[in-house]
């Protein structure tokens, strides 16, 4: 059995994305609404509160909730805070694997490995690129 974990850089990536979203929302509020009104203050406070909750509570917990495991017979993935979900896939059912990365994840050196099997797929999200490549070639060896 081998354990894999989501990269620490993934948290950094999410935090960056959350900060960017908050910044964009702030700019929009400053641009659209009349400054000094109660609605202007309310929206600014709301965005700030949501950002703080997301960045300092939700995202770290969400990052901690991820767990991946590869055993002799199965692949296992677990994630989620309020509605945790565990996914198990029989390794004998695997058809092929896909390695994906977007412009941002490439910048952080991260990749997502998706394992396709008959009737469904299972993703190992945001692994270190080298680790994802190793796991992909390890799983592929089984299929040959």
């Amino acid at each position: 059995m081998k354990e894999y974990s989501i990269s620490k850089k993934a948290l950094l990536l999410w935090e960056t994305a959350a900060l960017s979203c908050a910044a964009v929302l702030y700019c929009l509020i400053l641009w659209i609404f009349i400054p000094g009104t109660w609605l202007w203050y309310l929206l600014l406070w709301l965005v700030g509160a949501v950002y703080i909750l997301t960045a300092f509570l939700f995202l770290p917990l969400y990052h901690l909730s991820f767990s991946y495991r590869v055993t002799k017979r199965e692949l296992f993935s677990h994630s989620g805070i309020l509605f945790p979900k565990s996914r198990i896939m029989d390794r004998s059912r695997i058809a092929f694997v896909t390695l994906r990365h977007g412009p941002l994840t490439r910048l952080f050196g991260l990749s997502t490995l998706t394992v396709h099997a008959a009737g469904g797929s299972l993703s190992f999200r945001l692994l270190e690129h080298r680790e994802a490549e190793e796991l992909a070639s390890f799983l592929t060896e089984d299929l040959l």
Binding site: F96, A118, L144
Partner: protein, 499 residues
């Protein structure tokens, strides 16, 4: 190891055609109209500069996409890399392939291009796991590599070649008015785009005039409706015929090769081990004639729009069994051991009778509410009642058709779906799940529906209705199911022993 190869450059045009089509024809027509008045070129450019920029951007992105999309045939599988911003690398082992296919459309022949695709049990239901337009010289090595794990040259080559009449029967069964009408509509709108709206309108007016001339006393609206339905069906029939002429199926070792198409040749190399099921279809007419059309369900075959996964276009019962044991002896068909009881006949007939009653009442209301259109009401009521009566007869025949059989761990499921009768042969290991379901009425009568979920990229199920609950449990070998909650009160109590 070979190098990574690009797709055929025509891929740039094919991938951008749907976007370009919207802009390029109006732009070309405008450019053509200015051909002899070059002094107005500046005015034209001033008006169309944004369209030209958009077209250049689309072509540029298409070229970038083509450049970034490469594949390599490795010793054990196909490696595919694609994507401009969101990159994807995929490795598909040959041993896991269910279907490798090539398609040579007539319009790609002069430029020596061929579509190739490969599919496994995994992936998505609407797209192939690997699909690309490549040079013609590359498709033979592709097929050879893909079939290597399953092809056995020492085994006997078993060939099935149907007659053209068989293919015509298949086209007759499989033709669909809606598909034809949609194809016709797309064709007319395409003509409108290329040759202009005025030409499209002139063509539609001509057709309408001919239809009205051929109406023979029928109300014109009804005639147009009837001819649209007939025209749509004929278009669909012809398309199916052209698609399946020159059909052949060859079994060698663990591989089944299917070729078809008059102008566009298609080759499907199917791994027998990964075929999920074999399905024999009949409609009321072919059932009366004792004919079957046989299809196979393998991920990747029959996946494209309007593509049928044919194994035998049409054959009688003896040919069906003979050819099936020749091509796919792994999928035998057997007689049902579990059939609906005679008292369940009403359950087959209630839905069509209800439909007939509802349609009758609706048209009756229309007759009284709109007395000024009696002719159309009468015509439409007859036209809508025909499919309802047809459905009633189908359901009646379905009672005698329905059943489940099992032989050598292969289930034979017989049921009707819409207006079709299906006979399905599915091995036990390709069944994902079996549901035994009961409605309130079935609980009272001791009946049940058996629902078989089979291997598929999407969701494929077969419902065999109105079987005996006890017999179904015995067939599946399950006896310890909990008693239905609603009937627990009616359960006989054990006699209390006296002390």
């Amino acid at each position: 190891m070979t190098r990574f190869r690009h797709a055929h450059p025509i891929d740039i045009f094919l991938s951008t055609a749907r976007f370009l089509g919207l802009l390029i024809f109006p732009l070309l027509r405008a450019a053509y109209s200015l051909l002899f008045t070059m002094d107005r070129l500046y005015d034209w450019l001033a008006g169309a500069w944004f369209d030209i920029l958009t077209i250049l951007a689309i072509i540029g992105l298409g070229m970038l996409r083509w450049y970034r999309m490469t594949y390599r045939l490795e010793a054990h599988g196909i490696r595919v890399k694609q994507g401009i911003f969101f990159c994807r690398e995929r490795f598909i082992p040959y041993a896991r392939l269910s279907v490798a296919a090539t398609e040579s459309p007539w319009y790609l022949l002069p430029i020596r291009a061929v579509h190739v695709s490969a599919d496994t049990d995994g992936g998505y239901p609407n797209e192939a796991d690997f699909s690309m337009t490549v040079y013609k010289k590359e498709f033979l090595p592709f097929l050879k590599q893909c079939r290597t794990p399953f092809w056995n040259n020492e085994e006997i080559r078993r060939v099935y070649l149907p007659r053209n009449l068989n293919i015509a029967v298949l086209s007759f069964i499989a033709s669909n008015t809606l598909t034809g009408v949609l194809f016709g509509a797309t064709f007319f709108s395409g003509i409108g785009k290329v040759l202009g709206k005025s030409f499209e309108q002139a063509l539609v007016t001509q057709i309408t005039t001919v239809m009205q001339l051929l109406a023979f006393g029928i109300p014109p609206t009804a005639a147009i409706l009837a001819f649209t339905i007939l025209g749509g069906w004929i278009i669909s029939f012809l398309r199916n015929l052209v698609r399946h002429l020159r059909f052949s199926a060859v079994r060698q070792g663990g591989s089944l090769e299917i070729r078809s198409g008059l102008f566009t040749r298609r080759i499907f190399d199917i791994t027998v081990q990964r075929i999920n099921l074999v399905e024999a279809h009949q409609n009321l007419l072919t059932k009366t004639l004792g004919l079957y059309s046989t299809f196979i369900h393998a991920n990747g075959y029959g996946k494209k729009k309007d593509e049928l996964s044919v194994l035998m276009p049409s054959c009688d019962k003896t040919e069906l069994h003979g050819n099936l044991s020749l091509l796919l002896p792994e999928f035998p068909l057997c007689k049902p051991v579990l059939r609906p009881k005679r008292r369940y006949l009403s359950r087959f007939l209630i839905p069509p009778l209800t439909l007939m009653a509802v349609v009758g009442v609706l048209w009756g209301c229309a007759w009284y509410l709109f007395p000024f259109i009696h002719n159309i009401t009468l015509y439409l009521s007859i036209m809508t009642m025909i499919p309802c009566v047809w459905f009633f007869i189908v359901k009646l025949v379905s009672f005698f058709h329905t059943g489940v059989g099992i032989k050598d761990n292969v289930f034979t499921l017989r049921y009707s779906y819409g207006y079709r009768f299906k006979t399905v042969s599915v091995p036990k290991e390709r069944i994902v799940r079996i549901d035994l379901r009961q409605s309130v009425f079935q609980m009272a009568s001791g009946g049940c529906d058996l629902v078989f979920y089979t291997f598929s990229e999407g969701h494929k199920r077969h419902i065999v209705p109105n079987l005996s609950y006890q017999e179904a449990k015995a067939l599946l070998g399950i006896n310890d199911l909990p008693y239905p909650v609603l009937l627990r009160g009616r359960k006989k109590r054990k006699p209390v022993s006296k002390v």
